[in-house]
């Protein structure tokens, strides 16, 4: 008995030894910041000094139209971009899965390339490409598609479109991979049975393929929504700080600017970041509810 107890203690101690380095790092760089944010959020910084304001930062946030405007932009981009991308990724996956046999690997590789690019690199490329006197306008002008250069980055309407195009370019191939895996997991016998029954290709797609892909579609939609909520690199670089006229200002960028650029008020920035955590939490619950019991 005693020896068995000693062995169990030995195993338990070994277990702790293996997880300790990670848990120490977790405590220092994750738990401590989370707890200390509870203190930060009650303070107001003025220059180098700070004072207690209680819930003052939240009151200020409630009245800060710019913050809600920025958050609204996140939702606008979500509504415009996520469905577009999910549909596009689905179409590409289905076409890639059915349309060709030879060279499928190569095409898949090309579609996935944008997802390998860093957000900074592609934001820079798109910003140069889309300048008013830049290559895309020059090309379209010389082809006679447009008479006036389009203000891709200078006009509030077009800047939003630019963001949608850029994010879609970056993430469609990434989501397509998930759809491809989903498609390949569908049992071929189901299709054979449908073919025997004389179902048309379109019927098969809408009645069999699509319903079986619902979990992947939901996964892709929820993670993309959560990604859109955190947009930072693109508005900071591509549209140069959320411009023009804050048309592409996002919540994360606004928070960053409050803490580092326009102000150095960490308390206020922390208060706003709580809203982002809250929304992310709701999205996570939605994700678990929608997908949890399907797996």
């Amino acid at each position: 008995m005693n020896r068995k107890g000693a062995f169990a203690r030995y195993l338990n101690r070994s277990g702790w030894l293996f997880v300790t380095p990670a848990l120490v790092l977790f405590g220092v760089f994750m738990l401590y910041p989370i707890l200390s944010s509870l203190y930060l959020v009650t303070r107001k910084w003025r220059g180098m000094t700070d004072s207690f304001v209680g819930l003052g930062n939240f009151v200020r946030m409630a009245q800060d139209n710019q913050f809600w405007h920025a958050l609204g932009n996140n939702f606008l981009l979500m509504i415009l971009q996520v469905p577009l991308m999910v549909i596009l990724a689905l179409v590409l996956a289905v076409v890639l899965n059915q349309g060709i046999r030879r060279g499928r690997g190569l095409v898949r590789l090309m579609f996935f390339l944008p997802a390998v690019t860093s957000l900074v690199a592609y934001s820079i490329l798109f910003r140069i490409l889309l300048q008013t006197n830049g290559m895309l306008n020059n090309l379209m002008l010389s082809l006679g598609v447009i008479q006036q250069p389009i203000g891709w980055l200078n006009d509030p309407f077009w800047a939003t479109i630019t963001m949608v195009i850029a994010i879609t370019w970056r993430w469609t191939g990434y989501n397509m991979i998930f759809f491809l895996v989903g498609l390949q997991n569908i049992d071929p016998e189901i299709y054979e049975a449908a073919e025997v029954d004389g179902a048309s290709k379109i019927t098969v797609f809408f009645k069999i393929t699509l319903p079986l892909l619902v979990p992947v579609i939901l996964f892709s939609a929820v993670t993309s929504t959560s990604g859109t909520l955190q947009l930072f690199d693109e508005p900071n670089i591509l549209t140069n700080g959320g411009g023009p006229a804050n048309a592409t200002m996002t919540a994360a960028l606004y928070i960053y600017r409050q803490a580092f650029v326009t102000n150095s008020d960490f308390g206020y920035a922390t208060a706003m970041s709580y809203v982002i955590v809250l929304i992310a939490g709701i999205l996570a619950i939605v994700q678990i509810r929608l997908l949890g019991d399907r797996k």
Binding site: N12, A22, L25, P33, I100, V116, I128, I237, A251
Partner: protein, 287 residues
């Protein structure tokens, strides 16, 4: 599959057109970027699509005006150390959580996973305060002046060594490593550390490759946190250097295109060389 065999149908033509346009749109910016690094600034803006002959001039600008080698080295140092130490720490934790079951550790694991929900923008604010005054308690106790870890590579590395996601990912993979082997080795007299290092780790190289790729790319492409903590030119990583070039009064577009190209080479090389592990790491996140 009859679609594939039938020689020519309108729907098949449509599929080809979709794939052709899609591939072109995906690849074109890369082509344009590589071509751009051989052009002079005006030609880049105007949109020349054929290679020019200013590659060496751009390379000179990138190294002399922009100090590309230093930024590349900074990025490489940070990403490599993160991968080396990070994979080790996270693999140990994954092994500990999976092969030494205990209620208390399972509880910690649950908390670890819970923090995955927290968006980066929310954690970096209090993290910044912590890192800025990292050695403040030591300085206060011993009268030293270590200060903080701002504007230092270690300040970028250390907060991101532990990754709850990587631990989760590796733990899922350790589930496939038979516990019987661990027990057999123990009976043979192997210590736990040796079981981990010499038996468990070598048999899971593919999973570790996926984890290493994910960590490398995460750190190589990281932007928000370095943007907050890097203060001087000497510590800039490639993404920070590139984004600050975009804000300069005059932009050497040719040199910049070259730097963007160079910044993509390591990730592209890893992707093309280890495609399977690369995609396994991504898809692993939903399995």
């Amino acid at each position: 599959m009859s679609v594939v065999r039938s020689p020519f149908t309108p729907i098949r033509l449509l599929m080809w057109i979709i794939l052709a346009i899609g591939s072109f749109v995906c690849v074109f910016p890369f082509y344009w970027m590589v071509v751009g690094s051989t052009l002079n600034p005006n030609a880049v803006i105007h949109g020349n699509l054929l290679p020019g002959n200013e590659l060496w001039i751009n390379l000179e600008k990138a190294t002399k005006n922009y100090n590309l080698p230093l930024f590349f080295w900074n990025s490489l140092f940070i990403a490599s150390i993160t991968v080396f130490l990070g994979v080790m720490v996270n693999a140990m934790a994954a092994f500990g959580f999976e092969k030494y079951p205990s209620k208390a550790r399972e509880w910690f694991f649950g908390i670890l996973l819970l923090t995955l929900i927290i968006p980066q923008i929310s954690i970096v604010l209090p993290l910044f305060k912590l890192v800025a005054g990292f050695f403040a308690p030591i300085d206060m106790l011993f009268g030293t002046s270590f200060g903080g870890l701002l504007d230092s590579s270690w300040g970028i590395i250390m907060p991101f060594l532990m990754s709850a996601f990587i631990i989760f990912f590796l733990r899922q993979n350790f589930k496939m490593f038979p516990t019987e082997i661990v027990e057999a080795a123990r009976v043979d007299g192997s210590g736990e550390w040796r079981i981990f290092l010499q038996i468990a780790m070598p048999s899971m190289t593919a999973s570790f490759a996926s984890a290493a790729i994910l960590m490398f790319i995460g750190q190589w492409n990281s932007y928000l946190w370095p943007l907050m903590t890097i203060l001087s030119d000497g510590t800039k990583t490639l993404p920070i250097a590139m984004s600050s070039m975009m804000n300069a009064y005059t932009i050497e577009y040719g040199g910049l295109m070259l730097i963007v190209t160079v910044s993509m080479i390591p990730v592209l090389a890893v992707f093309l060389g280890l495609q399977r592990q690369f995609v396994a790491g991504l898809v692993g996140s939903i399995k």
